[in-house]
Symmetry: C2
Subunit: 364 residues, 2 copies
């Protein structure tokens, strides 16, 4: 597949500061050959937002620190440099050198991008990472983003997300008839096919949309973020886990031309800053969710509950339809589906003998 | 608690090569202030052993590459520089600058070290990492290893391990009466209290010990390593998951005096090399186990099975006794137990709404 090469934008040259002066010192070339680069990191999150904003900040700091100052990364919250949902194009076009977002946001460009973030009835974080690193996922991502002049790495995971906050009890699939729910992406399509109406609501308006009755239900992430938003103040019924986001992976994207220009040392710095945060953000969510769940139950009187089994199995059946349909959209889409679904089958067979089994032993 | 300061061993000085020459070049001081350091990494694994040796090699390479050659790490397999079970003392004494092993190997020095690796009926990898990074685990580890002149970071995880290979069926606790099993550490103590006999067998002799009847059962890790060892050729019954290692964390240990001497850049390089591999080794095991389980079932006719529920619950009860007893061994041991068990209770309450719930939805 032909790579959509963008015109040289010259920002590599513009970003190199002081290289000439350093070269004049006579110190061996490799240490200074690229001079100082200043990178802008656009993100889709408010500054220091739990897990997402805090993780983006740590990635920016890690690249700056590990590169010994050869790269200085400046962090921009969503909307500061470009709007949250324009980061993909900003990094393509060189308005920002790097971006911290989630591939699920760009399914308008290609539905199969969702597999590099999370799909309904998909993989948990540990399984997703294994597919990316040892199951062929990264290579397929490189191919798909490469066509847009981008390179990306997994750079954080929220862990399994809750099913959401509802203003009524969910006792069966009939309760989704006409239910208006804030739920994005492929999961929104699942809700639509289940008889509900998926509604797009920006993060900042989640609270008011539920409070005013614009929607009957919302999902955001997990107990940690949901408590921070105050969702327990406006809805009574908290269901989880969701069927739709068993492990949502975040991404660090970098302009491909810039990536190709980096030497081995700086490439390693960027890769390890991402891989390191890929696990740390998951730790932060796990610990934050654990503490916040206790607060929701014991301080705020919320009783979280699972969806009824028949709701889960019906939603999973619809989910599997929706994600399988992506295979028909093109050659690479078919290969993504085949690689991913083969890997899913293998880890699904493994899970009862590993993490799923270990967790269930607690109930014996 | 007083830190057991070791006499200066002068290896920092010895490891600095060419610093004087570099300083003479007139290049600004920070980039070269420590000159070139050559580090020896002792490990407890055969070279390129699945997941363990391959992960250690990647950590060595990552430190070398990201430091821009300021540190060159040379890898030694178990036994090459020092025997596998002497790495702890080798890094304390400066025979090696760093070591890649598992804290569970050093419970002879202090039983509570097991909490920094894995304990029976403990946490899965994701939960363990969350405790280390956001639950106070790292600080307690720093305190305990600091007393020995060491600093360590989580640097890999095998994921949940299998229960092991047995030469007879396990139908109840009575089947453990007099059963001789290769199983190390606190889990060995659990087997002893269950009426069995835990036996210490070096990794290299696992196959022959089971084949010759020296033991009736062995556990090593998971399908990937077990298939590589050929354990399916000498035992018929494969049980899993085990109750004893829900997620075994590996460690990178570094001499504390050396660690304290590193500048911010090199500290960040070491930390991120570890955190990055902490997730990558888990990916490697997850993908390797998934593929190898298929091979064991479909090529080698092995039918893995879970332990009976009453065996699991009895073994978990004994495990909880054994791990709780560590609290009585001293002040820091009590604090480790309190921190860990509080965190375990919180993530145990969370799991049904997150990963455990998501994995179980597959069976609905």
């Amino acid at each position: 597949m032909a790579r959509a090469r963008l015109p040289r934008r010259g920002f590599l040259k513009a970003a190199a500061v002081g290289a000439a002066a350093a070269t004049a010192s006579g110190f061996p070339a490799p240490a200074i050959s690229q001079g100082l680069q200043r990178w802008k990191m656009a993100t889709a999150w408010p500054k220091n937002f739990p897990g997402l904003g805090t993780g983006a900040r740590r990635i920016a700091d890690a690249i700056t620190r590990m590169s010994g100052g050869r790269i200085e990364v400046k962090l921009f919250a969503g909307g500061e440099l470009v709007p949250a949902f324009e980061v993909f194009d900003a990094v393509r076009q060189g308005t920002a050198e790097v971006g911290h977002t989630a591939a699920a946001y760009w399914t308008g460009k290609n539905k199969s991008f969702a597999f590099f973030a999370v799909v309904p009835a998909g993989l948990i974080a540990q399984e997703h990472n294994a597919w990316m690193e040892y199951g062929g996922g990264q290579e397929l991502w490189d191919e798909m983003y490469g066509a847009y002049g981008l390179k990306a790495f997994p750079a954080g995971n929220t862990g399994t997300q809750m099913g959401g906050w509802f203003n009524k009890e969910i006792n069966g699939m009939a309760d989704f008839d006409g239910l208006r729910m804030r739920i994005p992406g492929l999961a929104g399509e699942v809700i639509n096919r289940a008889g509900g109406i998926s509604v797009s609501v920006p993060g900042a308006e989640i609270m008011t949309s539920l409070q005013s009755g614009v929607v009957d239900a919302v999902e955001f992430a997990g107990p940690w973020t949901d408590l921070a938003f105050g969702l327990h103040k406006v809805a009574k019924y908290y269901y989880g886990p969701g069927f739709h986001e068993p492990g949502a992976s975040l991404e660090l994207m970098i302009n491909a031309e810039l990536w190709d220009s980096l030497d081995h040392e700086l490439k390693a710095v960027v890769r390890h800053a991402c891989a390191s945060e890929n696990q740390r953000i998951l730790s932060e969510f796990t610990a934050g969710n654990a503490a916040s769940l206790q607060a929701l139950i014991h301080k705020h009187g919320i009783t979280p509950r699972p969806f009824p089994d028949d709701v889960v199995s019906a939603m999973r059946a619809i989910s599997n339809e929706v994600i399988a349909e992506t295979a028909a959209e093109g050659d690479v889409n078919r290969r993504v589906w085949e690689s991913w679904s083969k890997f899913r089958d293998q880890v699904t067979a493994l899970a009862p003998f590993t993490e799923q089994g270990a967790l269930n032993q607690r109930d014996m």
